[in-house]
Symmetry: D3
Subunit: 247 residues, 6 copies
C-alpha cells in the first residue's frame, strides 16, 4: 500500500520527522511517500497560512494522488481537507481529524495539548468542523517563549508533560492529543508520566489512512457530483481535474 504524506509547510526537517513517526507506526506492507509543500510558510499557525497551504495541498494531490492508495494532510488543522475530498478518488485523512476520531474511541473526553497559544483558534475550528466539539475537554498550550519550532518538543518536554497531567486533572480529560507537527514523536517519551492514553498524531493518521484504503479503496462518490469547470492560471494537473465532470 502506498500512502502519500503531504507536509503543507515548507520545512523539510518537519517532513522527515513526520515520516519517521508514520513509518514506525505503519503496517508491514505500507510504503510512505513524503512530500514537502513546494511553496508556503515555514510552519502554519493560523487560518491565513492554512488557506494558502490548503491550496498547495490540492496541487500536490493533483500530481500524486493517482499513484497512491491514500493520502495524509500532515498538519494539525488539516488545511485543504474538505476541499481535497471533493476532488480526489482516494481516501484522504487530515492528521488532526485522524487523531481526534481515534481519541474519541479511547475515552469520552479528549484534550488537545500544543506549543503556542496562537494555534488555539485554528484548532478549535478544526474540532468543530469534525463535529466533535462536545467531546473536547480543553485546548491547553504552552505560553512561554521557546527557541525554535523544530526544537520545541525537546526543549519543553517537561512543560508539555505537565500540561498533559494538568488537563487530565483539571479538565477531566480521558485522553490527550499532542497537536502540531513539531510535537510528532513526543508521545512515546512522555506517555509513562501522564496516566491516560496519548494519541500520536502521525501514527493515528497513517493507521487511519491504511484502514480507509483497505476498506474503501474507491472513495469516489464520497461527495456529491461536481460539474467540470473552466479554469485559468492553475497547474496543468489541477486544471485537468477541475475540468472533469464527476459523478
Amino acid at each position: 500500500m502506498r500512502i502519500l504524506l503531504i507536509n503543507p509547510n515548507i520545512t523539510q526537517s518537519v517532513t522527515e520527522q513526520l515520516a519517521r513517526v508514520a513509518e514506525a507506526a505503519a503496517l508491514p506492507g505500507t510504503r510512505i511517500t513524503a512530500r514537502t509543500a513546494p511553496r508556503g510558510v515555514s510552519y502554519i499557525s493560523d487560518r491565513a497560512e492554512a488557506q494558502l497551504a490548503g491550496a498547495v495541498v490540492l496541487e500536490v494531490l493533483a500530481d500524486e494522488a493517482a499513484h497512491h492508495d491514500a493520502a495524509i494532510i500532515a498538519a494539525f488543522g488539516d488545511p485543504g481537507l474538505w476541499a481535497a475530498r471533493e476532488l480526489f478518488d482516494i481516501p484522504i485523512v487530515g492528521m488532526a481529524e485522524a487523531a481526534l476520531h481515534t481519541a474519541a474511541m479511547l475515552g469520552e473526553r479528549f484534550s488537545i495539548v500544543t506549543f503556542a497559544p496562537a494555534l488555539g483558534s485554528w484548532y478549535r475550528d478544526c474540532v468543530r468542523d469534525c463535529g466533535l466539539a462536545s467531546r473536547l475537554a480543553a485546548i491547553r498550550s504552552l505560553t512561554s517563549a521557546f527557541g525554535s519550532v523544530e526544537m520545541v518538543a525537546d526543549e519543553q518536554e517537561a512543560a508539555l508533560a505537565d500540561l498533559c497531567r494538568r488537563t487530565v486533572r483539571e479538565d477531566a480529560a480521558d485522553v490527550v492529543v499532542l497537536a502540531g507537527a513539531p510535537l510528532a514523536g513526543l508521545s512515546a517519551r512522555i506517555a509513562g508520566s501522564v496516566g491516560v492514553p496519548l494519541v500520536e498524531q502521525a501514527a493515528a493518521a497513517v493507521a487511519q489512512a491504511e484502514l480507509l484504503a483497505r476498506l474503501h479503496p474507491a472513495a469516489r462518490g464520497a461527495v456529491r457530483n461536481r460539474a467540470g469547470k473552466q479554469s485559468l492560471g492553475l497547474p496543468a494537473s489541477l486544471t485537468r481535474l477541475l475540468g472533469q465532470d464527476h459523478g
Copy 2:
C-alpha cells in the same frame, strides 16, 4: 492479535454472520473470538433491551478481556460501551461508533440506513453520544414488514439499496452506514448501485479495534480513577474487578 467480538443478543446465527464479515476484513495476523450473550433477547431494538444487554456485555468482558488485545461490542447501538471503558484495560470499540467515525473520515455527512423504524430512537441517541450529531444527514428505515430478522437483508436487498440511493439524493448524504447486525455483509452486494461509500459495520469495527490495539495496547487510564466497591450477587470475575481500585 486476538480480538473479542461480543454479540450482545442471544442469536448464534447472528454471531456467526458478524464473525464471518469481521474475519474477511481483518488483517492477516488477527484471530477473532466470537461470543454470543449467554442471556438476553433474540435481537436488540430499543433501550430496554440495550440496558439488559449492556450488563451482560460487562460480564462477558470480565471473563474474557484479559485474554484479548481488544474487544468489539457487536450490536449497532453499542450497548454497554461507555460502561465497559470504565472497567477494562484493553481498547473496546462499539460497532456503531466504529462505523460512524470511519464514515466521518470519508465524507462530510453520513446517513444511517436500517431495517426497522423502532431502531431510530436508539440509533439517534448513539450518534449523539458519539458527539457526531452535526455530521448526520438522516436515519432512514424500511417501513414494510419482513419475514424474519435473519432473512431481512436477503429479502429486502432491493428496498435497502433503494433507501441508500434516496438518502444520497434527498438528504445529501456523502456516505451511508448500513446499521443493525442483520445487515452485516450487505454492503458488498449493493455498493455498486449506490454511488457513495457504504460503511460495513463489522469491517469498520474489526479494523478500528486492530488499529487501537496496535497504537494503544494499554488503554488503562483512558477513564479517570475509580475506587473499588463492595458488590453483591454479581459473577465472580466482575465482583473482583469492581472491587479493585483503579488509577
Copy 3:
C-alpha cells in the same frame, strides 16, 4: 397512591434514608414501598456501575410495577430510566430528572453540588440526556477525602454548604440541586445559609411521581410500539414482559 422507590445500590441504610425524606415530602394518601437492589454495588458512581444497576432496576420493576401507581429510580444519574419507560405502563421518574426539571421551574440556571469528583461525568451525561444542558450553571464537587459515604453529609456539611454558596456567587446559579443519595435530607439543614432554593432530590422525585400518577395514570404509549422478543436466562417476570407485543 402507592409509589415504588427503588434504590439501585445494595446499601439498605441508603434506602431507608431516601424513604424517610420521600415520606416526609409525600402527600397524605401516598404509601411508599422502598426496595433495595438485590444485587449490585454499595454505591454507584460511574457508568459501569450504572449499567449494571439499570438492568437490576428493570428486574425489580418487572416484579413490582403492577402493584404501584408510579415508580422512582432513586439514584441521582437515573440508571435504567430510559429503558424502564419502554417496558412499563406506570409513570417512572428518575431522581435526578425530577430534581432538574423542578429546579428549572424555580430559576434560570441551576447548579449541581455533590460529594465526589468521580460523579461529574455521569451527572453531566444525565443533564444532557434530560435536554437541560443549557440550563446548567456548573457541577461542583467536594475534592477532599471523607470517611464513609453514609456519613459524608454529616461530616462535610459545612463544606457542602460552602460549595452551594460559591456556585451561586461564582457560577451565577439561581437554584442548587444537592445530588447523590448520600446527600438526601441535607437541604433542610443548610438551606438557610445559601440564599437560593435548594432542591431536595428525594422530595422532588416523590412529588413529581405523585403528579404524574395523578395526571397520567396510564402512561402506556409514552414510547412507541415494541414487538415481543424471545429471551433467554432472564427472570420470569421480565421474560414475560419482553415477550409481549406493545402498541
Copy 4:
C-alpha cells in the same frame, strides 16, 4: 393553598375555561383565584402581543402575589415568566413550561399541537427558552380557517386528534402537548384515540404550581440580587416593588 391563575388575555370566557380545567385537576385543599388581564388583546398569538401581556402580568402579580402561595401565567408561551421570577417571592410557573417539563418526564420526545400556524414562532422560542429544544419532536398546527377562537376546540376536535396521531406516527413523538388556552380541556376528549399521553396544559400548570409551593414555599433568592430602582408612571404596587433592594 391559594393559587393565582392569570389569563394574560382579556377574554373572560377563556379565563373561565382555564379555571375549570385547573380546578378539576387541583388537589383537595387548593383554591384557585382566576384573574383576567385588565388590558391587552383578545388572544395572544405573537411576540408583540406577548410583550404587552407580560407587562400586564407583572402588574397583576404586584397586586396579588402577596395573597397567594404560587401563581400560574396561563397563556401557552408564558408571557412575562422570566421577568416575574425576578420580582416575586412565590413560585411562578408558565403554563407552557409546566406542560413541557411534565411531558419530558413521560417520554423522550414531545410534540406540540396547536390551532394556528402563527403561533409556531412564539412557541418555538418558548421551548428554546425552557432549554428543551432537544426534546421537541415537532410543532404541528391546524392550517385551515376556523370560526372563532373560543369554538376552535369543538369545531376542529377531529382535525386536532388527527394532528396528534400524525405527529406520533410521522415525527416519532412519545407524548403530545395540546397548546394554546382555547384548547384547554380538550385532552380528555381525544386521549383515547391517540395512543400516547396527552399533556393537559392547565392541569400540568396547577399541579406543578402546587408542587413548587409545597416544596419551595419561599422561592425568594431564586434569582440573583436586584437593586431598587426609581420608577415613573407605573402602578403603585409595582413602583413599590421595583424600588426595593432584593438580595
Copy 5:
C-alpha cells in the same frame, strides 16, 4: 433620513448622551429624534424591567414610527425588539443586536464588557436570541461598587479599559463591545489602550439603522401575517395597529 432613537428608560440625561454619540456617528443627511420612555425605571438591568420597558417601546413606536425611516431601541438588551418587528413597517434595530452583528464582521470572537454583574443574564439571553452565542468569547463586568450610573463611565474608565485588555488576553477576544447605555461614548477614550476594535454601541446602532433604511425602506413583510385583534385599555395608536390585519 429620519431616525427615531428610543431610550427605554426614563432618564433624560442618558437619552441625551446616546443621542450625542449617535449624531456624531450618523451620515450627513440623518436627523435623529430622541425619545425618553414616558414611564418605566431609571435604568434597566434585568428581565423584569426589560419586560415593562419593551411594552413602553411599542407605545412610543405606535405614535412615532410613521414619521421616521427607521428606529433604534437604545438599551443594550433590546427590550421589545422582536415584538416591535411584528408590528411596524420601518426597519427597527436593537442597540445590542447592531453592536453584536457589527462586531461579528470585525473578528471571530467578541466579548461584552459592562459595568454591573446583574446585567450578565439579560445580556447572555440577548446574545443567544441573536443566534450569536458561538461567537461570544466572554461577558466581563465590573464587580466593584460605583457612585452613580450616569458617572460610572468616567469614574471607572481605567477599570473598564483594564477589563477590555483582560478579555482580549484571557478570553481570546478579537473585538470588544462596550455594553450598557451609561458607557455610550466611552470607546473613543480608551480604544488606544486596548489594541483590538471597540464597538461603540450607539454608533453601530445608528449606522445599521441607516443601512437598513437605505436598503430596505419597506420592511413590511419581514414577519409573517398577523390577524387584527380586539384590544382593551391600550393607547389609541397601539389599539389601531393591533386591530389591523397585516400580510
Copy 6:
C-alpha cells in the same frame, strides 16, 4: 472612501455585474475598485474551488489593501474571509456574511435561495461559520438544468421568485437572501411578488463595508498577534506581509 471588490472567480462579466449592483447601492462618496481573480475557475461552487480562490483573494489583497479603506470578498461563501482578517488592517467583509447579518436584523429567520443544489453544502458551512445557524430557515435551490451561469437569473427568474415564495410559506422565513454572484441584481426585479424583504447580496456587502470603514477605519488588532514567518514561492507582497510580526 475607496472600496475594493474582489470577485474570486475568473469571469469578468460577473465582476462587472457585481460592481454595477454595488455602485448603485453605494453612498455618494464611495469609489469601488473591482478586481477579477487572476487565476482560478469560471465560477465557484464547492469547497475545492473555494480553497483555491481564497488563496488568490489573499494575493489580490496583498497588492491592493493598502490603497483601500475596506474590501469585499464578492463570492457568496466568502472564500478566504477568515484568513484575510488575520493578515490585513482594513475591514474586510464577505458578501455572504454581510447579507446574512443584514438579514438577521430584518427578521427572525432567513432563507437562502440559490440556483444549483451543489452550492448547498458550501453555503451551509458558511452560515455555521458565521454562527447564524439558529437563524436559518432553509436553503432552497433550483434543481432544473439551466443554460449558462451568466444567464441563470434571467432564464429562471420566475422559478427563483417561486422558490422565494415557497420558503416564506413552507419554511416560515421572514427574510430571503438571494445567493450566488450570478443572482446579483435580481432582488429588485422580483421583490414585489415575494412579500418579505429580499436581501441583495452585493448591496448588503458594499453598505456593510462602508459602515465598517466609517466606524472602524483601523481594524488592526481585530485578530490576535501573529509572528512573522519565512515563506517560499509566494508573491512578493504576500511574502513581505507574512514576514512581519503583527501585534
